[in-house]
Amino acid sequence: EPEVTQTPSHQVTQMGQEVILRCVPISNHLYFYWYRQILGQKVEFLVSFYNNEISEKSEIFDDQFSVERPDGSNFTLKIRSTKLEDSAMYFCASSLTYRDLHEQYFGPGTRLTVT
């Protein structure tokens, strides 16, 4: 069964460093999302992406964050200058279509630890 994959599974970085989290969505999906989950809390939406541009973004997704689809398969989340409070599990999700089939399938996540 097709699945969303994410790399790395765990990333440790120092405050102020840049990190890039990578995702490979399900191949025929058209909409891509990033969510994050701080330990013990709920899953929070960051950004959605369709047709090579951002569809929606949350207030969390400030200028330190960016997303990119550099090729036909990868979808990346970049944090330019990480802060301690960026430590969280980051999930990538994808869905087939936006309006009719809404199921979002989540990847296994990347645990980001900022020290």
Binding site: K42, V43, Q104, F106
Partner: protein, 112 residues
């Protein structure tokens, strides 16, 4: 505005039933249900698109009442594998698609 789930936690013995509720102060056009096991990604269970519609997944079913702006998840004859945190997610802006705003989760623990 996030949906509100109740109860916050449920403890069951195998074979018992449970109901998890999800309500919103805003009009709902769809409700998505996910289950997340500790340290894992949320797994899609089902989506309800129409008022009053019920859907099923194994022995888990759900209903959606547009008028009451709420959805309920029914877990029947629970199994050990049902343990996890259940989240309901609602699309924002009065739509049935797009970014999901999740409730705070309901922790379900099933004991032998």
């Amino acid at each position: 505005q996030q949906p509100v789930q109740s109860p916050q936690a449920v403890i069951l013995r195998e074979g018992e039933d449970a109901v998890i509720n999800c309500s919103s102060s805003k009009a709902l056009y769809s409700v998505h249900w996910y289950r997340q096991k500790h340290g894992e990604a949320p797994v899609f269970l089902m989506i309800l698109l129409k008022g009053g519609e019920q859907k099923g997944h194994e022995k888990i079913s759900a209903s959606f009442n547009e008028k009451k702006q709420q959805s309920s998840l029914y877990l029947t004859a629970s199994q050990l594998s049902y343990s996890g945190t259940y989240f309901c997610g609602t699309p924002a802006g009065g739509t049935s698609y797009g970014k999901l705003t999740f409730g705070q989760g309901t922790i379900l623990t099933v004991h032998p």
